[in-house]
Structures are given as structure tokens and as C-alpha cells.
């Protein structure tokens, strides 16, 4: 009888220790073991149009233009991006009336700095572009600026002066967001800070507006632009996005 007690004690002890070891194993598991979730990421061509330019064309008599944009996803964070557009803008002051019209394209890279949740594909991005434009300037009218009005009429241009075949090259930094509103449909907003690299100027005149570059400033070579885009992603391939999640979080 006494013998039996010793055996049962031994077995119980064994169980106890075993359980302890098991327990210990389980707690250490909880700290280190992780789970990997796999989401499908769409890689493809995203094509869009600039809403701002379309709206402005509709409401502003002195402006007409459109821009189509595209980007192609290269890696998880890098996109090859570009824009193609055409603009016509008339600038009228008290003394001048000049129209610039032409086409442009821009090409560069976008870098998505936004860490998306799950399978979302929103972007807060930075990028750069190199832009080039070919355009013409049509000086439709000017009246000589004279602070002295003793003689009431001033010289006024009668024949418009048109200068064709002008071009300009510039670089820009771009900051923007793109948010997926519905599946594959994105609404975007961006700001571009531009710096002219070279431009052709009409003889005895200057470019007040360069299609794609936007208006120029007297103070220097810098310019600024805005884009409001609506774009649609055409998925070409789907790649796995592995998300490592701590099991304790689940």
C-alpha cells in the first residue's frame, strides 16, 4: 500500500513537471510565434484625367486644357509616372493680351511613402518629373504703358504677332495623395514645384505662360502647379503582399 502511494506520487509529480514544461513552452510560443497573412496586391497601369483642368476649361473663358496621366507600378513603393497634356491660356492685363498654346509631357518616378493597411492601395507620395513643352505665343494686342496721359491715345498694336515653335524644359518636385474611392478608382491631389531649365523666348518679349509649366514669375525661374486627378487602375498582375502579424494581436 505504501509502495502504491510512492508510485502515484511519482507519476503525479511527473505530470506536474511535464505540465509546467508544457506551460512554459506555450508562453514562450505566444511571445515569438507570428502569423503571416497574404494579400493580393494589384500591379498595373493607372490611367487618369485632371479634373481641375476640365472644370477650369468649362468655367474660365481664358483657359482651355486637359491632361491625361498614367503610372505603372514597378515595385512595392515605386511607380513610373507621367502626364501628357495640352493647354491654351490667354493672359490679359490693362496693357497686354497674349495667348500661349501648346502641348507638353512629363515623365518621372513616384515614391509611395504611405504604409497601407491590409489590402488598401492609397498613396501619399513624393516624386519628380522632367517636363517638356512645345508651344506658340500669340501677342494679340498691347498698348504702350505711359504714366503721362497728356496725349490721350497711346500706341496700340494692330497686327497680332505670333511666334511659333517655342519650347521649354523644366524639372519638378511633386507631392500628392491618391485615395481609392471605389475598387480601382482613385481620386488624387498633388502640388508641383517647378524650376525652368531652359526656355525659348519670343524676340523682345517673354513667356508669361508655358503650357504644362503654368505661369512664369518675374522674380525667377520657379513655378507652381496643382493637379486634381481621377484615375482608374487596370490591374495587370497580382502580387502577394505578405503581412506579418503578431498572433497575440489577433
Amino acid at each position: 500500500m505504501k509502495h502504491q502511494h510512492i508510485i502515484s506520487f511519482f507519476i503525479s509529480s511527473c505530470f506536474f513537471f511535464f505540465c509546467c514544461v508544457l506551460n512554459a513552452q506555450e508562453t514562450s510560443d505566444k511571445e515569438t510565434k507570428t502569423d503571416t497573412l497574404i494579400y493580393k496586391q494589384k500591379y498595373g497601369l493607372r490611367l487618369g484625367a485632371d479634373l481641375g483642368k476640365l472644370v477650369r476649361s468649362a468655367i474660365d473663358d481664358d483657359y482651355s486644357g486637359f491632361e491625361i496621366s498614367g503610372d505603372y507600378r514597378l515595385t512595392k513603393k515605386l511607380y513610373l509616372a507621367g502626364e501628357l497634356g495640352n493647354e491654351k491660356r490667354t493672359i490679359t492685363t490693362d496693357f497686354l493680351n497674349v495667348t500661349a498654346a501648346g502641348s507638353y509631357f512629363k515623365a518621372g518616378i513616384d515614391y509611395n511613402s504611405y504604409k497601407n493597411w491590409l489590402d488598401m492601395q492609397n498613396m501619399i507620395y513624393f516624386g519628380f518629373r522632367v517636363g517638356a513643352s512645345t508651344f506658340k505665343q500669340n501677342l494679340e494686342n498691347y498698348t504702350v504703358y505711359n504714366t503721362n496721359q497728356y496725349w490721350p491715345t497711346q500706341f496700340s498694336l494692330e497686327e497680332p504677332i505670333e511666334v511659333d515653335g517655342l519650347s521649354a524644359i523644366w524639372a519638378e518636385l511633386i507631392i500628392g495623395i491618391k485615395a481609392e474611392l471605389f475598387s480601382n478608382l482613385f481620386l488624387g491631389l498633388n502640388v508641383q514645384i517647378k524650376s525652368l531649365i531652359s526656355e525659348d523666348e519670343p524676340n523682345g518679349f517673354e513667356n508669361l505662360y508655358i503650357p504644362g509649366f503654368n505661369r512664369t514669375y518675374d522674380s525667377g525661374r520657379f513655378g507652381i502647379g496643382f493637379g486634381y486627378s481621377l484615375s482608374y487602375l487596370i490591374p495587370i498582375v497580382k502580387k502577394n503582399k505578405k503581412v506579418v502579424v503578431d498572433k497575440t494581436e489577433n
Binding site: I91, T93, D94, F95, L96, W117, M120, N122, Y142, T143, V144, Y145, N146, T147, N148, Y150, W151, T153, Q154, F155, S156, I177, A179, E180, L181, L187, L189, V191, G204, F205, E206, L208, R215, D218, F226, Y228
Partner: protein, 185 residues
């Protein structure tokens, strides 16, 4: 998340459009920019050609203009005049009246029989115009080349003896220096 993006989008759009609209309003031509210049004439003594000599009661009026050139109304002595030139024609005519006065003919109340006394010389300024671009806000200014001055050949009683440009083939590009010297006694 979508709401968050749309909210940011709206706010940033509003800020950007206000900046954009704000920027396009600052295009005002500054006053210190050199624009269309006037012809600057100084009066010198014919006998001592280094000396400036005042013209008593000088009145200056453009031919074809109903207004007298302000500050040259014939009430003060003048040694320097600034003449605005027409930018839409290649010549401008001015009447210079020395010793300007109005004789009321003994009837101060009746203006109809008043007449002007003084010596009037009419000059014709001929030039070619050249329009030069200044800036977006100021547009173009006119400068004048090959400026010459002619007197009325029928005037036998001229008080301006001689008009002398400071340079050969005188041009008028700014108002920083005198362009012509008029000599008189």
C-alpha cells in the same frame, strides 16, 4: 480611412485654390520702373552757353491739345521742361510762349476780347518710335530714336535761337538726363 483622405483632399484643395487666386493679383507695375520717357529740355543762355537761363513766364502747350502742359502755365520762370511725346505718331508739335500774359483789353469783366501776349515759337519734334517690352505688369514702353527738332521757318521773331541735342542721333530712352539744350537770350 476613405473619409480621412477625402477630408484632407477637400481642405488642401481649398487652401491651394485660395493661394492660386491670391497670387495672380499682385501684378501691378511698380512706380520705380522706367516706363515711356519724356523729352527733357533745358534752357541755356545763348551768350554764355555754359549757363542755364530761366525763361520768364513760359507757357507750353501741345499743338492739337486743348490742355496746357501742367506746371508750364505761363506764371513762373522755367529752366527745364519735360515734354510728353506722342507714342502713336512720329512727330509731336509744341507751342512755347515766352512772357506769357493775358491782356484784358481794358475790360476785366469781359473775357471775349482778351488776347494773349508774349512771343510764341512752335517746334516740331520728329522721331522714330521703338516699343520695348518691360514686364508682365508694365507691358511695353515707347522709346524714341533719331530725334530732331525743327522750328517754324516762317517765324521771323524766334526767341529760341538754337536747339542742340546732347548727342548725335539723339535717342530718348529714359528721363535721367537732359536730351536737348535750347539757347535763348
Amino acid at each position: 480611412m476613405k473619409r480621412y483622405f477625402i477630408l484632407i483632399y477637400t481642405i488642401v484643395s481649398l487652401i491651394l485654390s485660395s493661394i492660386l487666386l491670391g497670387c495672380e493679383r499682385d501684378d501691378i507695375c511698380p512706380e520705380d520702373v522706367s516706363t515711356t520717357p519724356r523729352l527733357i529740355v533745358e534752357f541755356y543762355d545763348l551768350l554764355n552757353q555754359e549757363d542755364i537761363k530761366n525763361v520768364p513766364n513760359l507757357r507750353v502747350q501741345g499743338i492739337g491739345n486743348t490742355e496746357v502742359l501742367s506746371s508750364f502755365t505761363g506764371s513762373t520762370a522755367i529752366n527745364k521742361v519735360e515734354l510728353p511725346l506722342k507714342t502713336d505718331e512720329a512727330s509731336t508739335q509744341y507751342s512755347f510762349i515766352k512772357d506769357y500774359a493775358i491782356n484784358d483789353n481794358g475790360t476785366p469783366d469781359d473775357l471775349t476780347d482778351d488776347y494773349v501776349t508774349g512771343n510764341e515759337d512752335i517746334i516740331t519734334i520728329n522721331y522714330t518710335i521703338e516699343n520695348v517690352y518691360i514686364s508682365r505688369a508694365c507691358g511695353y514702353k515707347t522709346t524714341y530714336n533719331a530725334v530732331n527738332i525743327q522750328f517754324d521757318v516762317d517765324d521771323t521773331d524766334r526767341w529760341i535761337a538754337l536747339a542742340q541735342p546732347l548727342n548725335d542721333n539723339q535717342s530718348i530712352e529714359n528721363e535721367t538726363s537732359t536730351h536737348y539744350k535750347f539757347f535763348h537770350q
